[in-house]
Symmetry: C2
Subunit: 494 residues, 2 copies
């Protein structure tokens, strides 16, 4: 075939693809209501993984996912990942992980879409304007727990595959699904499962796609980094049981006073981390990064208004984004064992445990952070000469994740976004942690892309979580386009 | 009647009394099992005033008290004291207050015994060795929630009156009862009721007797002082809702950091109060006080072992007692609104409220303390230049109470203890607060005595609360003897 013939062939392929895309888009637009109803069905299930009372709902949720994928003709498995140990020593069955496969053409790339269908807790009385488990459309926003995080994105991926099938189009890549039900409480059992299936289900996977995040503005985004998280328990123990503050106040050094004292040495009033060695380990902000951040579409004022604070820690875009994405932070989440109910109990708590976490960034290392924090708190505590005992434990040590935005996977993402939204995406990072990304990367050695379709104001983990109909439907088109783009990546660049 | 005749008459009266006492003691000893069963019946009722789910039990408890007193022929009333407002704005009926009267001879003194039959919360899983609502006798100790605090003392007073009745002996004084069911949660409604009944039920009361406390050692005690309590809420509010620490950590000054920061300025590591003006207001320790404390029977080591701490704030008796009784202390009880459950939630709490209290002593004044604390916390907070808002509220401002140990009421107490236990009592104070004592004093202008029968190791408010059979039975005899002694007080010295 000479060069001219080749050009014509490529042109025909290109037209054929363009044609396919238009038909697929039309199909998606025609089936919007069906997609919304599918989301309604899923939102109605209170698949709260943190509440063991809801575990039957969670099992039902996983079964529904599996059934949906089975009806599409996929090779579906419900993978038993064992049991969860509860704080009281009892065990409870973990929700099975759903794996599915569509297509197994060895000449094609194979992508694996990771998602989750468990949700954060939600109660109407938490401040929801609508029943969190009854999908409610208000002006094009579909409110409900788990809409954006992560049920709608999972459904969008399923619908993307289904659209190809419905139009009898061959999938441009083989598509696998790996859908779990414990993401919101730490993906219990998933690490082991990924490790166990490295040479089976995951063996032929070229790329992993995660859509468990959101845009930064109204501009579509690709996410290339997440912070890690080192979660600490600092326990101060004194008397052998809780004491009456009238009877014992003035006689004992109270554990709560000690705990407050050491917690107060973690962070300066302006938010600077005071633990020696932490800030020093952080990779310096490069000029390219500065430039990249500067170009990102992000409305500082809108962000400020959304949080409702009087002023943010930084009032310029670059500093603010940098401190959310690529600098560490310490957050003190709360204290267990002290009096936290309404009312006026006069107790001297005998054992109090502070929960705080440090978001990890390159080039911090969780093992080092563990040593730094433990050593620092013990040294601060020693100076108090307290009769009480301090125990510091790191209960989570999740590394940060960072991708190369020049990788073909990201180039394909940019092209897909260009096609659907006719604009360049923002390249963004997540301040939060998606530990499974790092696990996938470490275990499979394969590249990962995070392709969000959630809106910047979806309120994941908050009251009134929503997914806009626009993001849901256009997101489905994006996934369709992306499968096409991934197919164009030359087989060697995986 | 000449002097000789008078002597003989007095001697006969004295013998007659002695005889009566022996018969009464015999009666008490003969009815021990009946008293224990009565305590068992009362302990079986989960009259937890802090748990609104248990309110029906509490109503039932008050009705049982009333019925017991009615069956003894008393003039009994169940006084409606209105409703309690719950944090969510709903209301719930308060347990009625039981008043009763036995005897109304205007030539006699009238005492009013105050007590309560509500209890602190208790669950087996809190660390109880026995079911807290099933009275369990182990080696002469009767374990159960509310035994010592305050059901057994209330029953002992009732049995004291009943013993006189059973032996057809005329009560040496008129005895009134005022038994409430909200003591453990702040005696809601009682202040108003006392004020309302000042000129009716309380009008002819000469002395008020409270047995809602305990001994300091195995030596019987009379209590002549309590500390007051100023209970504060310090609320720091920032974002309009809880935020995800990954997404927002590094962008906002977290309310929890601010709260920890200001709490850490309240107390030094060694327990010194850092709020300006507090320590300065405290009455200096007099030589007599020092001497009095020095003479008190109190085992510092036993006290230390009981708390389970490695070392106490003070290791000599006088300092330790002084700091529990007549110096102020600050205790930080806990933080509401933060994450206090097991697990690893990554939340930035939007609004956190610390609960802390300062035990008041002479010559501190709650109104002044309120100003001092509020001003100090706001000035410390201002230095942080935080965008968050601080609100400081004093929700309880209970004054300390102090009695004259030379008062005839206390002399009568010493005599009664001498008669029953054949020893001098320790004159002690309570580190805790019994606000109603101060209210009684302020409203009625009458003298109050605190006459404990609880053991020094009864574990009020703790797991495994108990009352020893010895203290219960001998305590009943003490109350019998005390009624006799009070009758000897000349009518003018009230």
């Amino acid at each position: 075939m000479n060069l001219q013939t080749l050009s014509i062939v490529l042109l025909v392929i290109s037209y054929a693809q363009a044609f396919h895309y238009i038909k697929l888009v039309q199909y998606v637009d025609d089936h919007q209501e069906e997609y919304v109803e599918a989301l309604r069905d899923w939102v109605a299930i209170e698949s709260d993984s943190s509440n063991i009372q809801k575990r039957p709902e969670l099992h039902r949720m996983m079964e529904m996912v599996a059934q949906k994928l089975r009806l599409m003709g996929g090779t579906v498995e419900l993978v038993d990942i064992g049991e969860q140990e509860l704080p009281d020593g009892q065990t409870i069955t973990l929700p099975k992980v759903v794996t599915a496969q569509f297509g197994s053409d060895p000449s094609k790339h194979t992508v694996c879409v990771y998602g989750h269908v468990d949700v954060q807790p939600a109660k109407l009385e938490d401040g929801w304007a609508t029943d969190p488990y009854n999908l409610t459309d208000i002006s094009g926003n579909m409110y409900g727990r788990g809409t954006s995080d992560n049920k709608a994105p999972v459904l969008a991926w399923i619908h993307a595959v289904k659209a190809y099938q419905a139009l009898s189009m061959v999938l441009p890549v083989n598509v696998k699904f790996l859908i779990e039900g414990m993401e919101e409480t730490g993906s219990n059992g998933l690490d082991a499962m990924i490790l166990a299936q490295r040479d089976t289900f995951l063996s032929d996977v070229d790329y992993i796609i995660i859509s468990d995040c959101g845009w930064l503005s109204r501009r579509p985004a690709l996410t290339y980094g997440t912070r890690g998280n080192c979660y600490f328990f600092a326990e101060v123990e004194g008397p052998k049981q809780d004491l009456h503050s009238g009877v014992y106040g003035g006689a004992v050094i109270e554990p709560m006073t000690d705990l407050i004292g050491i917690l107060d040495t973690l962070i300066s009033p302006s938010g600077r981390i005071l633990i020696p060695g932490i800030q020093e380990a952080v990779a310096p902000l490069s000029d390219e990064e500065w430039k990249m951040y500067q170009d990102i579409e992000f409305d500082v004022n809108h962000f400020k208004n959304k949080t409702g604070v009087n002023h943010l820690m930084y009032n310029n875009k670059v500093d603010l984004l940098a401190h959310r994405w690529r600098y560490p932070t310490v957050s003190i989440h709360g204290i267990m064992g002290a009096f936290s109910d309404p009312g006026t109990k006069t107790v001297i708590p005998a054992k109090v445990t502070a929960k705080f976490s440090i978001r990890q960034v390159p080039d911090m290392d969780p093992a080092t952070v563990k040593k730094q924090v433990t050593h620092y708190l013990h040294s601060v505590f020693a100076k108090r000469k307290s009769p009480n005992k301090l125990k510091v434990t790191m209960v989570i040590g999740a590394k940060p994740w960072l991708a190369d935005t020049q990788h073909p996977l990201y180039e394909a993402g940019k092209a897909a976004i260009k096609r659907v939204f006719n604009m360049e995406p923002d390249l963004i990072r997540e301040g939060g942690t998606i530990p499974i990304a790092r696990t996938f990367q470490d275990v499979t050695g394969k590249s990962i892309i995070m392709m969000p379709i959630g809106g910047f104001d979806d309120g994941m983990h908050s009251q009134n979580e929503k997914m806009s109909r626009y993001n849901y439907i256009e997101g489905t088109k994006l996934f369709i386009a992306y499968l096409n783009e991934v197919a164009q990546i030359t087989k060697t660049s995986g």
